[in-house]
């Protein structure tokens, strides 16, 4: 039997945690992701099926919501990214496909992304340097896609701070950008 060893997006055995002055940047490797796109004219059907099965609300543009084990981030018109803990929901994409049926298209996204949770006092100042979003105006529950250091990223405002989802193949570049911004506001 091949002895496979799981690694995080930053090539570590365990999640990286960096604390720079008041800011903490924590890699989140335990994440299953799948995108759900409603077929033409089936947005309401997809939303109703996910609501019934998971109590998950597919919210208005630029928002996200959590329910139980799951959270859904608005990506674009009739399109959402659903996430859950990988440890308990490794089959997220096929589970979602069984729920939405022919009303939506589900795509496995787990290994395409990396995620960093950022929190601390200088959060707003750091994100003002990282991206062109009006981050100071973003409330917990809002989420936007934008560029951070030329990488297309999702910036999700949480109660604790912010989560950044970026392309996994550029995880080190995104991590570097976050660290750099943290030092510049420290």
């Amino acid at each position: 039997m091949t002895d496979l060893k799981p690694i995080t997006a930053l090539n570590g055995d365990s999640a990286a945690v960096d604390t720079i002055a008041t800011l903490t940047i924590r890699e989140n490797p335990d994440l299953a992701l799948a995108s759900v796109a409603a077929r033409h004219g089936a947005g309401d059907t997809v939303a109703a099926r996910l609501k019934d099965a998971l109590s998950l609300s597919l919210l208005a543009p630029a928002h996200w919501a959590a329910a139980g084990d799951y959270a859904a981030i608005w990506l674009g018109p009739d399109q959402w990214m659903v996430n859950a803990e990988y440890g308990t929901h490794a089959l997220l994409a096929s589970d979602l496909k069984a729920i939405v049926g022919d009303a939506g298209s589900v795509t496995e996204q787990t290994d395409g992304w990396c995620c960093f949770d950022v929190e601390g006092e200088q959060l707003v100042a750091a994100f003002e340097r990282l991206c062109a979003l009006d981050f100071a105006q973003m409330q917990p529950g809002q989420a936007n896609r934008t560029t951070i250091h030329h990488l297309g990223c999702l910036v999700v405002r949480t109660d604790a701070g912010a989560s950044v989802f970026g392309p996994r193949s550029s995880a080190r570049s995104l991590h570097h950008a976050l660290i750099e911004a943290a030092y510049s506001v420290a």
């Binding site: 543009p61 630029a62 990506l75 674009g76 018109p77 062109a132 936007n144 896609r145 934008t146 560029t147």
Partner: protein
């Protein structure tokens, strides 16, 4: 420069890419008798107005929606932003 996205509000223009004249929405009917001539004009002839210009922009680093932006080519002032989907449907596209 900011583009006032109809769904997301004002967003940095760097998140968008530019395609060109919004007249591209009005693709000719390929079955029409004058299709060859119509496609020649569609492909090669563009207005070059000094003033208001309707153009297609793509929110590539955002929600990936196509927009019709009305921009003044003399001042860069943007006077209106619509979802290209709504514009195309209003012009009877997508029903054929």
């Amino acid at each position: 420069m900011l583009i006032n996205h109809p769904i997301l509000g004002p967003r940095d223009a760097a998140e968008f890419t530019y395609l060109g004249d919004a007249a591209l929405i009005d693709r000719p009917n390929w079955q029409a008798d004058d299709a060859a001539e119509a496609f020649h004009d569609y492909l090669y002839l563009r207005d070059n107005p000094a003033g208001l210009h309707r153009e297609l922009w793509f929110h590539e680093q955002g929600d990936r929606s196509w927009l019709v932006v009305t921009r003044n080519t003399l001042t860069h002032e943007i006077t209106s932003v619509e979802l290209a989907r709504d514009v195309a449907l209003a012009r009877g596209r997508g029903k054929e």
